[in-house]
Symmetry: D2
Subunit: 511 residues, 4 copies
């Protein structure tokens, strides 16, 4: 019980904040949410880019112009085996999509290892999964892994813009009932999910959700079907928050797994990813030379720690702002001056937000910045920089590159605003497939755990992934680094009071 109780507190601050503005009660309002949060959600995994992204990009622009105006829903398409149980933009694009998937497979060692190791056991035999996620080469690797582990699946997109059409075609060609294309209308969006849920001879028993839309549709529209579900796996902050709200309201009648806060996934999504993407984002968008630059980073959580480590490593002088004295003390011990933003705002060359809070950088701050100062956001949402305060008649905006605006003061001073204050790492760099591999393996294991758990292990509540599974996700990715684990001897395991197979740490361990 205590774990459940604890889980109720798991929504992060930003999570709570983000949703308190848009309480979700029914699919209709969800639609609105989808609309309003489109920009954010669109970006969340959308920019994942494989080696062949450039070809994708070139295709994309061409295809979007070539996409005929007929809605996929109105077209009749068949794959080469004669099936038409899917709805994608153009089934004929499957070859290019298949190549994309193959390249992604090479870069996702963990999920591929899981596929190999478990394909004999088929731990998802008889699982019938409704999936609702972004649809791109990386998620295709996940989908095909779930099938290889024995599951039947039906899949829709969790975002109206993020589907890679060729990948959807490749999945459809391989026999997966996929309902998704780039540029769906809102009505299309719900129609697609409905096609995954409500189809003859199909009683789904698992949901893999990214944002909570499949869960909500089923709960609202097919409550009887929902009751038959054995488990829900949810990876987004927003979706997890919805689940906790449902649980609190007593409406969650099935166990759910919050994979958003798994240890391994969290470290990779934050510390390790941001350590690299802050450099990439700034370099690609501004060609800045890092050496000697003065940078202030607002927030010294995992994201702030990653950013500051990387920038210090390249010769930047980094200042930190913090509200939390423990994190502030960590920053001090790591060699950073902890300041109030106003102390350095006139002298820094770059301002980076990573707090999850709102209005951390205000118009007043930006009025004080020096000419050429770069401002960008690495935090949770697009609220950290008060971009709206810059949309006043006295200031001129000049777009100098995609994702790069010069905002010009009457005296000629320019500040360089990246991605209009949205997440700069999602807008101006790419998410390595390796990070997606971590997330996908986490999702797959959560499905396996919920599907195979003995009755009674999980109640109708929201759970964190068991530490042992978290450790397993990590272990799947060690061969990439040719890392060799040491095994406990029997004597050592006994001395430590541990099972030789793990878990190796208490739940409160901080890593």
């Amino acid at each position: 019980m205590s774990e459940v109780a604890e889980n109720h507190a798991l929504g992060t601050k930003s999570d709570l904040a983000g949703v308190s503005d848009s309480p979700i009660t029914d699919p209709a309002s969800v639609v609105k949410d989808t609309k309003t949060s489109g920009a954010l959600k669109k970006s969340s995994r959308y920019r994942t880019r494989s080696l062949s992204a450039s070809s994708t990009d070139s295709y994309s622009s061409s295809s979007s112009s070539q996409e005929d105006d007929v809605s996929p829903r109105e077209k009749v398409q068949k794959n080469s085996k004669g099936s038409s149980d899917f709805c994608v933009r153009n089934i004929n694009q499957f070859e290019f999509g298949r190549r994309e998937i193959e390249i992604a497979e090479q870069e996702m060692p963990g999920i591929m290892a899981l596929r190999r190791r478990a394909s004999d056991d088929k731990p998802l035999r008889n699982a019938k999964i409704v999936g609702c996620t972004h649809i791109n080469a990386q998620t295709a690797v996940l989908i095909e892994t779930l099938a290889a582990l024995g599951a039947s699946v039906r899949w829709a997109a969790c975002n109206i813009y993020s589907t890679q059409n060729e990948v959807a075609a490749a999945l459809a060609e391989s026999g997966f009932p996929v309902f998704a294309w780039r540029g769906e209308t809102e009505e299309d969006f719900w129609w697609c999910i409905d096609k995954c849920v409500n189809v003859e001879n199909w009683q789904p028993n698992m949901i893999l959700d990214d944002g909570g839309d499949a869960t909500h549709l089923m709960l609202k529209k097919y409550p009887a079907m929902f009751k038959m579900i054995k488990g829900i796996v949810e990876e987004s902050v927003t979706g997890v928050h919805r689940l906790y709200q449902l649980s609190k309201a007593g409406k969650l009648t099935v166990p759910a797994m919050n994979v958003n806060d798994s240890v391994t996934k969290t470290k990779f999504d934050n510390l390790y990813s941001c350590r690299e993407s802050i450099l990439d984002s700034l370099k690609r968008s501004t060609d800045i030379m890092f050496g000697g630059k003065q940078v202030v980073i607002c927030g010294y959580g995992e994201v702030g720690k990653g950013c500051s480590q990387a920038l210090k490593g390249l010769g930047c002088i980094v200042y930190i702002t913090e509200i939390d004295p423990i994190c502030a003390l960590q920053a001090s011990m790591d060699g950073f001056r902890v300041v109030k933003l106003n102390e350095v705002i006139r002298t820094v060359d770059v301002v980076i937000t990573a707090t999850g809070n709102k209005n951390v950088v205000t118009r007043e701050h930006m009025d004080k910045m020096k000419n050429g100062c770069i401002v960008c956001n690495m935090g949770h949402s697009n609220t950290e920089i008060d971009v709206n305060s810059l949309r006043t008649p006295d200031l001129t905006w000049e777009k100098v590159r995609s994702q790069v605006d010069h905002v010009i003061w009457p005296d000629g001073k320019r500040i360089i605003l990246l991605a209009e204050g949205r997440l700069v790492n999602l807008s101006c760099s790419s998410l390595p497939s390796f990070v997606v591999s971590i997330t996908s393996a986490t999702q797959a294991l959560a499905l396996i755990e919920l599907f195979n758990a003995p009755p009674g292990r999980y109640k109708s509540d929201v759970y964190l992934l068991p530490k042992k599974m978290d450790e397993y996700v990590a272990s799947l990715h060690l061969p990439t680094f040719d890392a060799h684990l040491t095994e406990l001897s029997d004597e050592q395991a006994k001395y430590m009071g541990l099972n030789k197979a793990g878990p190796f740490k208490p739940n409160y361990y901080r890593y």
Copy 2:
């Protein structure tokens, strides 16, 4: 309830391991424990060294030779105010002790800030504290702070060797009933604690313990008095484990605070301290040049992380061994090869253990090490290196310095064993007063919290320090770094769902 439940799991692995060998049931067995674990306990805070350590040292040698053979218990001493409610080696040594305390005060900004801030409020007014800790200049600063906050105290040593006699004299001269001297017998040890507990007109209501001896004596010998206690604060791994055992056995009738696992204290005791002390320990004992040396560190927990970061920073090539795939993945992402010990044992220049486990470095490993290899332990106990396996007739031991042994194989190969496998950082370097300041402030706040808590907040169980207090300890130490915290605006606090004064993070936050 959930926090309590969780707390029961708080003993670390090493904790569980260490004590399972010596279950404690009554003061008599405690005595044995004191004896057997003397070497370990002696070291735990004993080597703390202020700037004036050399004078201490010089005194020490002289004083130990000059110490008359009469037991302090048989001498009649009075301080300058005429009190004789104390028992120390030599009250006349107080001046030197006072100077030591004054120097320590300058290096303990947090506890001194607490003294200043709270001395008007007197949050410990009417608190009657039995203290049982090491007695040195740093703890004297704590004791005098507790008094400044309103408490009455009586104090004994938690270790028969670790008392700085001059400091004890200075405390006695200032009117504190102190019962401690270096070189107590076991009988003396319990007599001293008894003098702190059982004295006319004294009903203690708080215990500050380091190792659990005062707690146990009172519980066993004065159970009625024990029932009147409002709270126990315990900082040692061993003492905390005893408390959890008492709680489990239903014998803990008062609330207890485990300060050993407080966030701030833990970070400083492990990551930040060890990052510096590994360098200091190796340099002072072996004059090793770090650049280009190959080092293997067994264990990538906080201690291993600190050691590896420091050594990498000075040009060592560091390898890591791990049993936990999550920590192994962290090591990989931090740029370390993760290997099995046998893969590198023939080539490395230094082997460091930091696992908390036993027999991590075996005779078989040491047989393979190359000539001149340095072996030392930074982990919890003296079990990690199987030193006993080196005490065979074929090997020759040659002590080349204090704490440095050459163990010589028949073919002339030497390995350099530091501190005979005990904690090298306690044996070969010193603990900065700043780290002790963190611990002392944590202890003082725990006492304040338990003493002032409204009835019902704490049951008869073992608790972690509330996060808000942990944050307060951190905040007390920020001025040392001239670090300036940012305050949340009302709007921001609301957005984050936080109180502007903290706590700022959920309990599961990993820092």
Copy 3:
């Protein structure tokens, strides 16, 4: 004399190597050289990208398609002041070019500071400079600075592909006789230079050269005019080598300044630039995640040092190969394993060459690489990786992005070759304007020094920039970092035997 003598040895190894393949004797052969080395020379400063590169790019493609087929030499164009003493693609593009120049000015603090400080003195009054360099926004800042310092100039391009047409238009509109456009024929190339040299009422007295073409044309075609030259400033490895050859052959009749080996310029061109561009190049081209990757860097000179520092900082495990024991010892002391390439070739994820040598990575090595290994070159020329050895029938090349080829072995193994073995930082990242600012300021000061030197200070030989001027270039760039120099007191200067204004170090100082 000794400095001159030393200077003769200044060509770097790669320098010697690069040119020994293409001895230059007359303009005709230079033309061939220009052709054959087009790919290399094109890249050398061509990819410099300002903030508005994307707009440039978009323009570029459009403009290249819109460029009418009429050769600029056949068109009659006038700028707004009525002058037609220039030849550019389209004078009407000047506005966009002017904006590019203005943005570049903001990012080139050193050369702009020099412009401000010296514009009253006009140290180049009466200087008549023939310039032959890349023509882009950054060089425009240099050209306009030279004019502001009093010089008259005529300018041609040193490369048939690298001219930014709009910038050339902006210069022409501002009255500079510029003769350059993108896509010149070889005949155009020499015609343009000739127009800068041989025009009525123009006796040039200085040459600013990048590659030696203006120098050679004048020497060969207008020897009498060449004798009137007061000095030549040359910045390229190739051009410097030509000068040393001329000097050796006794044909150099004027003083020449080798700015290629100036301290400040060298550090920025190599260590500081490459430290950042290796990350940028790898990330932009492959989206690699750095953490935990094993990388071997061939060569531990300035470039290798920069690359290894940056990659280690982001969690890579870096190996070094070296031929020079001093550099190898430095690598060891900096914490890198020094290996032979064959020791690690089967396990590394990335291979980077930075030696200046040829065939450092051979087909044999590439046969052993693991699937997915990335191979790229950060060294001097395109010889380090034996790319030709990969053009065999058994291997398949697959271009997956611009500058990214997969080379596929019969068993399916792929290696990822970047920029076909050419300089990956020039091909896949951009050169910060700040680095160009350093070079430009160095060139301008060299011109000032040679033009104003008292008779006899410089003979007809090749010189390094005086250290004092090197220091001045550095000082011009310190305000960017808000760095504050300390001044020697008279007493201190006397004690050190130094002039308070510098130079501060002996010539052999290693920095």
Copy 4:
């Protein structure tokens, strides 16, 4: 000629400075110099400490008290072979000295490798060397290596305090004519050198000097003998300066080798040594916790670079002061704020000088420092901190440890002065044997080069060690790190224009 000319400028600034105060003209004045600079010279290699330093220490104190008052010059001693051609404190101490030498041998891989490789060739056969250096275990390894290479030697101490008597005894016992003991008088000092120079049947042909005293004595007192010398090897700043002065004055009649400025030696003496010793010095003397401390380092030469890198690595915030804009720019690019000392003097926790200049830290600065500020010197001499300005009646000095003084202002403010402003790394830490190994190998190779050079290669002037020999010294130390050099192929060597055996870099290469 050019190299010679250049060599004349090789004295470093500090070098020039140091000696301009004490011009040396004859042995008499040298005596005075020895006296006045005793404190400095004493420290220069004296504190080299092997693993067994503690035993040395204990011996030292005892032996100094036990040393009988009879001067060694008045005692008759014989070694076990019956020779009495030596003069040491006590020949019977040889066993302990031998053990010290054996331990040193293990830690000096380079010089030992040279001994092994060249002992067949005997490149010093017929060399007759007068040596005048510190006499300790490390130099004993050098001396015995020279003998193994074929040389005859006679040896005196270059400092009246630095002789390790047991080591001298061990050398004497092994048959080396050693004339040295700790605590020589000045007359003893010159008597000892004289005994090495002027003895029947001994015409020395080489001098190995450390400070120039043997050179000067021979030049002044035995000019005819001096003319027969084939070469001088000098390693000290002071001695090198004397040689350049002699050369300038036309009095140097033999070739001399300045090994003080060899590349490898310089890097190890400055960058690599100081990177470690700054940490060790501060930690051993003050037990400072580095994390979060603000430190200003005056001077960003090799020493400053080493110190700043190490301190930054441990979480210090480091500021740099510089007079040289190139070094200042380097500091900026390396991530350090470049400030004037006054900008930070009130806030820093530690001030470190590394300039070679005088009065860099003045009383005015120290008046502004905050309570507890640590002040120390890592630079060349004891002039950088104006310690004399602290010896005023208003300030109280309190020695709290050996090498640690508190200087107390009237308001109670204390600053912590280390080693009274002398070199803190020599006073408060130890020099690793590995660094001495580099120096010793350099000296031995310089002797070999001068002794075997064909006539005419070296004139009567001061030379730097040929780069190829510098490279050889480095190569001798690579096996310590298991570093594997790559060899050039014939084709590559030709392409680079290099000999496959080196040298690999031009003389001006900066490393």
